[in-house]
Amino acid sequence: MRTWSRRVAVFTSVLAAGAVLAACGAGGRPDEGKDSTEDVVGVTEDTIKIGAHFPLTGVAAPGYSEIPSGHKAYYDYVNANGGVHGRKIEFVVRDDAYNPTQTSQVTNELVLKDRIFAMVGGLGTPTHSAVVDFLNGEKVPDLFVSSGSLQWGDDVESKPQTFGWQPDYETEGKIIGKWVSENMPNARVGLFLQDDDFGEDGEKGVRRYLGDQIVATERYTSGNTDVAPQVAALQAANVDIVLGFNTPSYTALTQLTANKLNFDPKWFYSNVGSDPELVGSLLARFSEGAVKDGSSLLDGVVTTEYIPGVDTPDDPWVKLWQEVWDKHGSGGKLTNYRVYGMSQAYTFVQALQSAGPNPTREGIVEAIEQAGKEFDGPALAPFRYSEDSHMGISGLRVSELSGGKANPLTPVLTTDIGDAPIVKDHSGAASDAPPEDGIPTG
């Protein structure tokens, strides 16, 4: 009997302890929102708090964990130059280890405890899927998802707060497919796809132009680093060109494996996987008597570009990023992941500028819908933002790598998902340069 009353006591005290813990957290909840006249969550007189989930630990951390450091550096740069309408941007990054369960937890934390104004750049398709309904339900602007999945923007009605940013994989696939069909009409085409929406949407786009030419489709599971069976199957199908929708590490792995198998087709890697700087440096290592000269190893590889990267240090945008990174970076060198983060951050700052001196959650969504098409920025093609579409950058150009640099093979081509035709971009987005101070005006 005594045991049991004690157990009741213990059980209740566990719960009570939980409550205390919870109360502590609740006590720490910032209520700056109340200081502002407008009473907007996450916005005060002189700060605006935003956040995002990124994989900082675990298998997806290599590479992706650098993106938020790009964001941070650019916001610090903007803050050092007076902020946006006098407000400094606070960027809260939470680790989800690329696990949707954790994404859901950290997003709860960001929205309910950190009280962020908007989510900016949350990364990953399965991860962000877990929170997109919650964000829209809470009316939190869900801006510039770091993923090219179609669901970030094609269904404005059900996800009015969510905006894509990079060109979706289907758009990219279409442009790649058309290029191959026009330039290598007789080639046997093999697909090397990551086994998720990335590969799937890319394949959908490619197949619009290359129905019969595709003779082999191989999928790899992220995390399984032995791709020899897949590459062997592509080799067995005698393909002339491989279209890879994969991450940069798998670009390196396919190159190494192909070398092992003496397999030498033409390689076309979609933008995600091509990062010539990163892949080149990975492969250069093996040039020590093992493979060809490292920097030239990727020579002849075809890829796509939608923002200028570190391989073009003279590009005015890259010059700006370099300056930002030198002043406000968190160590290490400027990488394309960081450039990606800064480019996204630039778009956010522009959106915030457009939302006016008293930004609200509705206001920023509206501002992007109204003005988003006209946003200048590093993107080579304009955004598709409107009241009907929240899709991101509308196009890209096809380039060929040589000596670690990308040389354009086509002008910037734009299109949209579905049947939309592929057309040459005349907006001039590719040739603009950042403003003097490096901060957009809105």
Partner: protein, 347 residues
């Protein structure tokens, strides 16, 4: 105490039900007085607690080590997602929870029959393989199971009677996430009452006998295989239920949510709290839920970069696990009990 209350207290079931009632009141008090964010965390604690409760019975009472309970949570979560994919024709939630439990139970029986033939590290190997194999199934049957992106779960609306009852008692409206937290804790209390009764019953004694000395148990006429399979099935049913709650809380069932780390986290929750103790499992689940966030915040406040602070959570959690195993192998609950016994014997 009245005679009636004493009579209730005297029976095991009565004690457990009374305890459950008190627990329910405590849960309501906590959930009503904490923020929506904390409600979400309590939902996480609930599903970790349910799964850890089942695992502590298997490992603590029956001595079988499973490194693959995350797989059964996945089974429960996917069952839930498949049943709740259509907002209009979704079956009642209680049926969904029961179905998730039942599916995990049936599959658990199959695995349990195989595992009962194996010993020690061989069970560990088989369950480890299971933990990594199950997410692959979701990728292979992309059409029905949604592939890498997983299946989204539509949480049914808060039923009117529940919302009214809650409003009547607490004068608060019930948000969807609070509703899920209630479901989680209700499931936890029900499953803990069942587990507690089971472990006090003849079945529980048989499990312990098998754990302590299987040869002696067999000589005493216990069917070892049946005892092992039963313990396995009970714990996988709990994992299935936990998976269902997880699916509701996360609103998604995706393979990347059920990687090996989940199974290992469950195991360390069980060990941290104290093997074989339901209270320990609950404490372990609480640690797992609250510790990472607390540690990360401390790290950030101490001026670490985001990356370093993010690695701090697993570091502290791994070190804690190691230290508990080395310094207090009976876990938090076991150590506390031993300390109390010592105090009592040396007044």
């Amino acid at each position: 105490m009245t005679a009636f209350a004493q009579r209730i207290w005297a029976s095991t079931l009565g004690r457990h039900l009374l305890l459950a009632g008190l627990g329910l009141v405590a849960v309501a008090l906590v959930l009503e007085n904490t923020s929506a964010f904390r409600n979400g965390q309590f939902a996480v604690m609930a599903y970790m607690g349910i799964a850890a409760g089942g695992l502590t019975v298997l490992t603590g009472l029956n001595g079988q080590l499973s490194l693959g309970h995350g797989a059964f949570m996945a089974i429960g979560a996917y069952t839930t997602a498949l049943l709740l994919d259509d907002y209009e024709s979704a079956p009642p939630l209680i049926l969904v929870l029961l179905a998730a439990t039942a599916v995990a139970l049936v599959i658990g029986a199959g695995v349990g029959v195989a595992a009962a033939r194996l010993h020690g590290p061989y069970i560990a190997g088989a369950t480890l393989a299971l933990a990594i194999a199950v997410p692959g199934i979701a990728l292979y049957f992309q059409g029905t199971l949604g592939g890498e992106q997983g299946l989204t779960v539509v949480v049914p609306d808060v039923p009117n009677w529940f919302a009214d009852a809650a409003y009547f008692i607490t004068a608060n409206d019930v948000s969807s996430s609070k509703y899920v937290a209630y479901i989680g804790w209700f499931s936890l209390i029900v499953s803990y009452v069942l587990l507690a009764n089971l472990s006090r019953s003849r079945v529980g004694r048989i499990w312990r006998a098998v754990r302590d000395d299987d040869v002696a148990a067999e000589i005493a006429g216990i069917n070892l295989g049946r005892a092992r399979v039963l313990a396995f099935v009970v714990s996988t049913a709990c994992a299935g239920l936990a998976g269902a709650v997880l699916a509701l809380a996360v609103r998604l069932a995706a393979p990347s949510g059920f990687m090996l780390t989940l199974s290992l986290a469950l195991l360390s929750a069980v060990v941290l709290g104290g093997l074989g103790s339901l209270l320990g499992a609950l404490i372990g689940a609480a640690l797992l839920t609250f510790l990472p966030q607390v540690v990360t915040s401390i790290g950030l406040d101490a001026g670490l970069t985001d990356l370093q602070a993010a690695e701090l959570a697993p570091l502290v959690y791994g070190l804690t696990t190691m230290l508990v195993v080395i310094l207090a192998p009976a876990g938090i609950v076991g150590t506390a009990r031993a300390a109390r016994r010592r105090r009592r014997s040396h007044p």
